[in-house]
Symmetry: C2
Subunit: 419 residues, 2 copies
């Protein structure tokens, strides 16, 4: 029986596991968390719109009916490629085929000291911490007698104008202008300043320019100030230093959120050291046309950990549809091989890009079809909810969403955890 070990239960890993449901293999799925996280909606947890449980599903439960599969909650420490064994903190897992799908975490470009000052948005814990900081800032502003300090509490800087930064900024705009409208006595939440700092010439640089422009208009409508061509050069408890061309500005902001960049998981480096496989600058493993590690056809790499550029010359973007397609491909390729045949190379069929801004605006590019505004928002909602419903019967999230949409409420506004 072919022993398959799969590390990482994100989009890529879980789709591979599910596609191997009926394969004649012995599958071990390893993740250090016990749940799969629906990453595209984590910003909703960070802004009080959804609860963690609504966008996470226990891996074990998702795969419970799959008789050829066991699930282990464990952390991978190393891989012995000669012995074909994955070393865990407390044991090991031997494999004939290995699938690596451990994704990426955020990256501070050599400024690791910024991490506690400007949390990124990858894990549930990140989201709860960001939620805590946002809500606490309004609470502190309400009781702050000094006008300058109050303004600093009400200034939110978001670093990075990609989909995550745009979605965070949009949700924050909605919170300040709408959700909290009647809740305070001394401050007016709509006076909050929301700054979106982006290094290139436009927000959503991976989207077509007309959609970037539409997104910028929607953001402006929510009171978000977009600064393009701008870099954060300094960051401390009191605020950020932003350089735009030659102009350097100091902005007092007590809340800074990081949405500027990611780096592949540590496992990339380990595999590179053990196999000599090349890494790109973001720490991703540069893979063969069949998503395997060069010289190691028994090791597949998918999702944000993989750098696949055989199709267009450019690496495929680190988004969920790519990871899902790679996961499905690997499952198919493995079964083709078990039949003694050679799988065709991986080919990604572009499913388009989507980003949402606030409660009723979005932008979407499907090939040459570009849409924006409320209709794009419905498309966004439909795509995300269909995934959730298909995946784990999360009909309730749809109910909650409709309900919140009508009542303009954000029910999960809790300040928990803390320093």
């Amino acid at each position: 029986m072919n022993r398959v070990v799969l590390v990482g239960a994100g989009f890529g890993g879980l789709y591979a596991a599910q596609a191997l449901k009926r394969a004649p293999i012995d599958l071990t799925v390893i993740d250090r968390r016990n749940f799969h996280l629906f990453q595209p909606l984590v910003y909703q947890v960070a802004t009080g719109g959804l609860s963690p449980g609504e966008i996470a599903s226990p891996v074990r439960h998702v795969l419970s009916r799959q008789r050829n599969t066991r699930v282990w909650m464990a952390e991978v420490r190393d891989i012995q490629v000669d012995r074909r064994v994955v070393l865990l903190g407390d044991g090991e897992a031997p494999y004939d085929t290995l699938i690596l799908a451990t994704g990426a975490h955020h990256h501070y470009f050599g400024h690791d000291e910024w991490e506690p000052l400007a949390p990124g948005l990858k894990t549930i814990e990140d989201a709860i911490e960001i939620r805590r900081r946002i809500l606490r800032a309004f609470e502190c502003a309400e009781r702050e007698p000094d006008a300058a300090e109050r303004r600093a509490w009400l200034t939110f800087a978001i670093v990075g104008g990609g989909p995550t930064g745009v979605e965070l900024a949009g949700a924050l705009g909605e919170i300040a202008n709408d959700t909290l409208r009647h809740d305070f006595r001394h401050i007016d939440p709509s006076e909050a300043v929301i700054l979106l700092v982006e290094g290139t010439d436009r927000v959503l640089p991976s989207f077509p320019p007309d959609l970037s422009a539409a997104a910028a208009r929607s953001l402006a409508g929510l009171g978000v100030q977009v600064r393009t061509h701008s870099m954060v050069t300094g960051l401390d408890r009191a605020g950020v230093t932003v350089r735009t061309g030659d102009a350097v500005e100091r902005i007092a902001a007590k809340t800074v959120l990081w949405a500027a960049g990611v780096e592949a998981s540590e496992l990339g480096k380990i595999v590179s050291e053990r196999t000599g496989a090349p890494l790109d600058r973001a720490g991703r493993l540069i893979v063969e046309p069949d998503l395997t590690v060069p010289g190691h056809p028994e090791i597949f790499v998918i999702g944000d950990l993989a750098h696949f550029s055989h199709q267009t010359g450019q690496p495929l973007p680190g988004v969920a549809p790519v990871a899902m397609a790679e996961g499905r491909y690997v499952a198919r390729a493995m079964q083709t091989r078990l039949r003694g045949e050679t799988p065709p190379p991986f080919h990604y069929f572009d499913k388009g890009e989507l980003a949402t801004i606030g409660r009723n605006r979005a932008v979407a590019a499907f090939g040459r079809l570009h849409i924006s505004g409320p209709f794009a928002w419905f498309v966004w909602l439909f795509v995300h909810l269909m995934y959730l419903v298909e995946f784990d019967n999360r009909l309730l999230v749809l109910v909650e969403w409709v309900y919140d949409y009508i009542t303009r409420n954000r029910g999960a506004r809790l300040i928990t955890g803390g320093q």
Copy 2:
């Protein structure tokens, strides 16, 4: 304008605040958290049935339409009764009338070193920590090669057989026998041992004996082992020592939960020192017939912080209906006084007691009417959901409950936080 400061936004505090909605006063509500927590359902968060956001409501939002009220998230450090000022960590709040409703926290009877080993169930953070420990125990058991260790991972000891202990034990029984049934490969979750250790002669000692017996039968049906007349005399990482009469038994259990006792909040001691007011053994302030501190008619004490025994000679129990009634009384009494009249003494009309066991059993005592079984469970559900719906339009919790009931799912099974 009468300046009223109210400390603590639990059941007592929030009901007082809401009942003061139209009073000609200037009300400041102070709580160190930004949300009101629906305490009777915290055990559902601890067992993965509900998400924190579903049983918590931002205080600020609940009171947002109340024009005479401001809400401060702050911690009370001290009270200067002569100056009539509440001292906060960062400022102060002067009052003409003070309402104290800071409740209770759990208490380890002189064994404070047990707290990290056996978490109690008061806050959202407690619930998430308990959820983490319960779910992690099953995960560790699945991968544990040693049989004795595996049994220790699958043994759960709950200390205290009051409503919290019974509800935790029932939910755990349900998780082991039902929710996780198909999820594991090496262990059978239904082999989990759930131990409920109670010092008196029966579970739910505050209920009528026939209902204690009914609860014990329901618990047995869920595989819970009840040990009455038993005390925990030792507790460490490996397990508990239980004494029953003269017999002392050592039980290997990696998960121990505390539901054995509470102590009033620190503020009781502070008020006692500042005013000379007597405390009872649980740290509660012994109040006058009108719920004021002796010699200080301007200081009201309600809920779990108050010891009120003028009605029956026994102190009223620390349950939500008592706190709510006291909150409403204080609001009324204050307005009576503002009109220059003397309020009548507080009188509690007993609303009965309810406790639930698993997914379809409960016990309920309303005066001489005692019910148990599925019908009592419906009553329990109705009473709790009506409160949630009345309070904050939490219709969704009802939807989720019905949905989970039908699908036998517990969606919020996340292991988050932790070491």
